[in-house]
């Protein structure tokens, strides 16, 4: 589904990713862990196509719906319509734009892209409310402007709601557990788990292993100084929990 080869990328001339290679297949969950400043968030932004980050080398091949695409050079909205979803570490507030208008605009953009008809507003409302129930979200949420005055937990739940509504092929969760209390984290993790299928994949980016107790990864990668320094099964996450990162990076 995703094949990253020798990816180099940075911001304002400063190289942050220094040759990352990673293959993700449909049905898999990958965790990317690493200390602060190792390039985890940069990787997520580069995958989503943030305009401030510049890819200086390598490639990101993506395959979904029998289409093979090279992501570098594609606009963020094109990538999203092809099934890439980034759950933001810091979801952005959009004053004046109600959540319901926003969700429908996003959903309809996919419908049009796939050549399908837009969903009837009443049916869409029903569809969204079902997903909201899954995440135990308040009914009034739909009338509120996107993320404005949301608590940290509400913002993160909103990210997963958007994921549920858009039904992506490849979801990248950037520090989705940060700022969440244990109950909210369980709800969010359960939401993600319910969306797992054989034909989609999830990349979980996290500093701590606690989220991985709830979203169990098939592979764990340690990112340090812009490179993946170790890749193993899920037991690696527990080892990091016990021993920290130092033993992995000081050789």
């Amino acid at each position: 589904m995703l094949e990253i080869k020798d990816l180099h990328a940075g911001i304002e001339g400063k190289e942050i990713l220094k040759g990352i290679s990673l293959t993700v297949n449909a049905g898999e969950v990958h965790a990317i862990m690493g200390p602060n400043g190792s390039g985890k968030s940069t990787l997520s932004k580069v995958l989503a196509g943030h305009p401030q980050y510049e890819v200086t080398g390598g490639s990101i091949a993506y395959e979904a719906n029998f289409k093979k695409l090279e992501l570098t050079g594609m606009e963020p909205d094109q990538r999203a319509r092809e099934g890439i979803f980034l759950a933001f570490q810091y979801p952005v507030e959009i004053p004046g734009v109600s959540s319901s208008v926003f969700l429908r605009a996003a959903f309809n953009a996919i419908c049009r892209h796939q050549g399908a008809e837009e969903m009837d507003p009443i049916d869409f409302d029903k569809y969204v409310r079902e997903k909201m129930k899954l995440l135990q979200m308040d009914d009034k949420f739909l009338d509120r402007p996107v993320n404005v005055d949301f608590s940290g937990g509400e913002k993160k739940r909103n990210e997963i709601l958007q994921m549920a509504v858009l039904n992506p092929r490849l979801a990248v969760l950037d520090e989705t557990d940060s700022g969440l209390d244990i109950d909210s984290m369980k709800i969010v993790a359960e939401g993600v788990n319910k969306l797992r299928r054989k034909d989609n994949a999830v990349i979980v980016i996290t500093h701590y292993q606690r989220l991985l107790n709830y979203i169990q990864p098939d592979f764990v990668h340690i990112l340090y100084d812009g490179k993946i320094v170790r890749s193993e099964g899920r037991e690696l996450a527990l080892e990091v929990e016990n021993r920290g990162y130092d033993w992995l990076i000081k050789r």
């Binding site: 999203a80 004053p95 734009v97 953009a109």
Partner: protein, 437 residues
């Protein structure tokens, strides 16, 4: 006889003025003459005046103006689209009340509407009392010119305790004029104790003709009354509008005001609210949506002379093209006005790269136990917000539409009257089709 050099060059002024003077009597005659003398003696403001620093009237001063000869609506199709049957419409064409276009019969109990002249003819002391109490604000020459030369006006009276359900819509339409005509719309509103009413004052024109509208509105709000007041200005691209709105607020009254500027080449609004009693609540919101070479200047003054008053002010500007906006928000808190709680914010969204904004909050506080905050922002669309929307499948142009519409909706939604909101929404869509979703 040599003709006196007037601050504004108006053809046939002497003849017009002597006719006006002949038709007035008593108090009005003196009032007009005094205003005329004051106006004659005061030069027109220039950018050297602090209050006119960013707004030049050079083009106005150098023109020769006509007086309106006819007061008849020429373009009526667009006019009909603009007004709605559910409202109580008070229509003035080039400053003169036009009964056939208005519904002045079968008014709800407690609401009285007449022309200014008729009210004065019946010896209404109310207008005289209030007008003499209100002090001129930052555009004295225009106020005096209006007082000296206005032909007629609308007089709206809400009796004490009356609750007026439908929207009172005062429509000042400029129509059927020669190029470079000057008109003097005049409105007077008096809301009695514990009464409530929603009023929209619209200034519109549909013919592409240049003119100067020098509009004055005086509003007196008695104790415990609740007033929603919105002034909308959506005039021809060639028009210049200088508006003076003076509001007098008595104890425990509530004013929810909104100023909407939209059309015209040059617009200057002077809104002043005088707080003349304790525990008042005042909302002064506004929105300007401009493009091309339009210039909109809003000067507001909130003069708080009594304790325990609260005020909230949010002005927003959406600027496209090379348009220019000026905002100057003065809040004056007198020494005795303790426990004042005043909030002021002025926000702009610049869609045009060459658009320009000059914004200046001006708080003068002489009381020591008050809470006053203010702020101003000028910005282009936030790239992080655009990226967020794009990352949710939304193409960039749609993201920009959504955010611009959001910027506007945020403030339009503070207007409580559905009828006003719908009208403003329609106007905005016509001008910024890019916000339609």
């Amino acid at each position: 006889m040599t003709q006196q050099q007037m601050p504004l060059n108006i053809e046939g002024l002497q003849e017009y003025q002597s006719k006006l003077s002949g038709n007035s009597n008593g108090w009005l005659k003196t009032f007009r003459q005094k205003s005329f003398d004051q106006w004659s003696a005061e030069p027109m403001p220039t950018p050297k005046d602090e209050e006119w620093k960013y707004t030049s009237l050079a083009d106005v001063i150098n023109r020769r103006f006509q007086l309106a000869r006819r007061h008849q609506l020429v373009e009526d199709r667009q006019f009909e689209n603009y007004r709605s049957r559910a409202d109580i419409n008070v229509v003035l064409v080039n400053g003169v009340l036009w009964g056939e276009l208005s519904n002045l019969k079968d008014l709800p109990p407690g609401l009285k509407i007449s022309s200014f002249n008729e009210a004065l003819g019946h010896g209404s002391d109310e207008i005289r009392d209030t007008v003499s109490k209100l002090t001129p604000n930052d555009s004295k020459p225009f106020l005096w010119m209006n007082q000296a030369l206005f032909l007629d006006g609308a007089f709206i009276r809400v009796m004490p305790e009356a609750e007026i359900g439908p929207l009172v819509h005062i429509i000042h339409v400029t129509s059927g004029i020669l190029p470079d005509t000057v008109v003097f719309p005049r409105t007077f509103i008096s809301v009695g104790e514990s009464a409530s009413v929603d009023i929209l004052e619209s200034h519109i024109s549909f013919e592409p003709v240049s003119y100067l509208s020098n509009a004055v509105t005086d509003i007196r709000i008695a104790a415990n009354a609740m007033v929603g007041f919105c002034k909308t200005q959506a005039e021809a691209h060639q028009a210049v509008h200088v508006g003076t709105t003076r509001i007098w607020q008595e104890a425990a009254s509530y004013l929810d005001s909104f100023s909407f500027n939209f059309g015209g080449r040059l617009v200057r609004n002077n809104l002043s609210v005088l707080i003349k009693g304790e525990a008042t609540r005042t909302v002064m919101n506004g929105l300007y949506g401009i493009d091309g070479n339009q210039h909109v200047d809003n000067h507001t003054l909130l003069d708080i002379q009594h304790p325990n008053c609260t005020s909230y002010q949010l002005y927003k500007g959406l600027l496209n093209g090379k348009s220019r906006a000026v905002f100057n928000g003065k809040i004056y808190v007198h020494a005795q006005a303790q426990k004042t709680d005043a909030y002021q914010l002025n926000k702009h969204l610049l869609l045009g790269k060459e658009a320009r904004v000059d914004t200046k909050p001006q708080l003068e506080i002489f009381a020591d136990d008050v809470k006053c905050t203010h702020g101003a922002t000028i910005g282009q669309l936030n790239e992080e917000e655009i990226f967020y929307l794009q990352s949710r499948c939304i193409p960039r142009p749609t993201a920009i539409q959504l955010m611009s519409k959001g910027f506007i909706d945020d403030i339009i939604n503070t207007i409580k009257s559905d009828s006003i909101r719908a009208k403003l929404g329609r106007l905005l869509l016509k001008k910024f089709p890019e916000i339609k979703l």
